[in-house]
């Protein structure tokens, strides 16, 4: 089980960085929202909101990689 947690944990860390990169690229290129006003507002709200979420995902992945959630489950 620890190996599964480690593999998934590492994938979440990598996924967090790639997801944020592609989200920013897509939003800034205007692919996601066509209307210019909506696009600007969408970017202005989604980018700052998504950054802490992706940091959270990377952190979650790191904790999973270290086996912290196995310890937590044993404790509960």
């Amino acid at each position: 089980m620890l190996l599964v947690h480690k593999i998934l944990g590492l994938s979440f860390v990598v996924m967090a960085f790639f997801a944020e990169y592609f989200l920013i690229v897509y939003i800034l290129s205007g692919t996601l929202v066509k209307d210019p006003a909506s696009n600007q507002i969408f970017a202005a709200t989604v980018i700052p909101v998504s950054i802490p979420i992706m940091v959270g995902l990377a952190l979650f992945g790191w904790y999973a990689f270290k086996g912290e959630y196995l310890k937590l489950r044993d404790k509960r």
Binding site: V33, Q40, F42, V49, G56, Y63
Partner: protein, 497 residues
């Protein structure tokens, strides 16, 4: 915890649920009346107004809710549950009532959209603080063995709030007529809110503070800094992250797909007329709502995790077949047109500024008793003529029932995922920081992951009607993997720590 008696628990549930229901009602009526509000406060053709309108939609819809969770969650862990969710109710009710009273753009100019935007932000903030308080308050009153059952009543309020808002709008429209409704009648659903809030405040004022919080406070065990304890300490932060990625993110997308994207899909992609769409949504909601309580109850017996995970998994696996079946119902290419029943009408009028208006209406009938109305409006003449095409699809009786069933299935999934989640979140965190710790993952999951569903799915659907479903499918699958592997199915009976 089991020593806490269930005497009066229904009064506690009533006080909490009515307030939360009204908050959802207040929040939804703005969304449901958005086209009218846009017309009154954000007229087309002005880029600044377009920016403000988009801000009112995006920012208040999802950005502000996690902030509300932090602000009011902290207050709830410092001052108490009762006063905090009284405050959120007053803020929400006050803002909603005020929206119904704001003069239009044509009367007070730029001040009108700015006031609307500010009031919408207050609504989002208040909503962010309400749910955590209600769920915490109920769970801290009830017996551990029935926590899923009792908190599931709170879970029904989000769906019933949508039902109430659609019903009030529908009835008001029927009473005052479509023209008067878009002129002034749209204000009624907002203004009515003040009566509902007054009633709810009266009920809540009579309630006592949560026994667990009152005990912790009398023993000096409440947190001095709930934000630091919730998110600044690794031991708690890793549980917050697990709750978000292993439960609330997937729950949010299943909820928003089942209720809001389904509604938007029927309206914008299938082009079904409002007179069929609104009753259909109301009917599906009424049929599915009791299952929130069924699954809440079931989670007390078999645990929370697998009910929620199964709901997410089955949603991920069946969304595409469900939406494909929905689309087929309105796909006229696959139907046989009864050409002898086609009716063509032409009307000529003149607009207020003297332009000629020509309206062509072509009504086509199909062998399965469905029909399609194509309305072409040509304003002006010659090279400057402006043409608008509007299509309205009318389902056959069997088509209506099939579509209602397909929406019901999606809301049924919502009840599986959403029914046990309040009890699940409450059991993850200690009393001293429960309000703060559970509110944030809930509102990030629902407000951001869930709240983005209609926008992202609609944007993705440009390349194909069913492509919008990839967003909830991917997020749902992601949550299922994390939840199935990382979450425990064990019920934490003692939440008095």
């Amino acid at each position: 915890m089991s020593k806490i008696k269930n005497k009066g628990i229904y009064a506690v549930i009533l006080a909490s649920s009515i307030g939360t229901l009204i908050e959802w009602y207040d929040f939804y009526i703005f969304g449901a009346l958005e086209p009218i509000i846009a017309q009154k406060f954000f007229p087309a053709g002005n880029p600044t107004l377009a920016t403000l309108a988009a801000l009112a939609t995006f920012a208040a819809g999802f950005l502000v809710r996690p902030f509300g969770a932090i602000v009011f969650g902290r207050l709830g862990d410092l001052v108490g549950r009762k006063y905090t969710f009284l405050l959120t109710l007053l803020l929400m009710g006050g803002a909603t009532f005020a929206i119904g009273c704001v003069p239009e753009y044509s009367v007070i100019g730029m001040a009108a959209p700015i006031i609307i935007l500010l009031l919408r932000l207050v609504q989002g903030l208040a909503l962010g603080g309400e749910y955590g308080g209600a769920a915490t308050y109920v769970s801290e009153h009830c017996d551990a063995k029935e926590r899923g059952f009792y908190t599931s009543f709170i879970q029904t309020t989000a769906t019933l709030g949508l039902f109430l808002s659609l019903s009030v709008i529908y009835l008001t429209k029927l009473l005052v007529g479509a023209e008067a409704f878009s002129d002034w009648g749209w204000r009624i659903p907002f203004i009515i809110s003040v009566l509902l809030v007054g009633l709810s405040v009266y009920i809540r004022m009579k309630m006592q503070e949560s026994p667990l919080f009152a005990k912790a406070k009398s023993e000096g065990k409440t947190s001095k800094n709930p934000l630091k304890e919730s998110f600044g300490r690794k031991a708690n932060l890793k549980i917050v992250l697990l709750a978000l990625f292993g439960a609330t993110a997937g729950q949010g997308v299943v909820w928003y797909t089942g209720q809001f994207y389904a509604n938007a899909f029927i309206q914008k992609t299938m082009l079904v007329v409002d007179d069929q769409r609104i009753p259909l949504m109301l009917f599906a909601i009424v049929l599915a709502t009791p299952f929130f309580i069924v699954f809440g109850r079931l989670s007390d017996k078999i645990g929370r995790k697998w009910i929620m995970m199964f709901g997410i998994l089955i949603a991920v696996l069946t969304y595409r077949p469900i939406y494909s079946a929905m689309l087929n119902l309105s796909d006229v290419k696959s139907k046989t047109e009864l050409t002898e029943k086609t009716i063509t009408e032409t009307k000529n009028t003149v607009s207020a500024n003297g332009d000629s208006i020509k309206i062509n209406i072509v009504s086509k009938s199909y062998s399965d008793n469905s029909s399609l109305k194509e309305i072409t409006k040509i304003t002006g003449s010659g090279a400057k003529a402006k043409t608008e095409l509007k299509k309205e699809f009318m389902l056959s009786s069997s088509g209506w029932w099939t579509l209602m069933f397909l929406v019901f299935i999606q809301i049924f999934y919502v009840t599986m995922v959403y029914g046990p989640i309040a009890a699940f979140l409450v059991e993850l965190f200690p009393t001293r920081i429960r309000y703060t710790s559970m509110s944030l993952p809930y509102h990030v999951g629902n407000g951001i992951f869930g709240g983005l569903t209609p926008f992202i799915a609609t944007a993705l659907a440009v390349s194909g009607a069913l492509n919008g479903l990839w967003y909830p499918i991917i997020i749902g699958a992601f949550t299922f993997v994390i939840g199935a592997i990382f979450l425990s199915n064990k019920i934490d009976e003692d939440v008095s720590d």
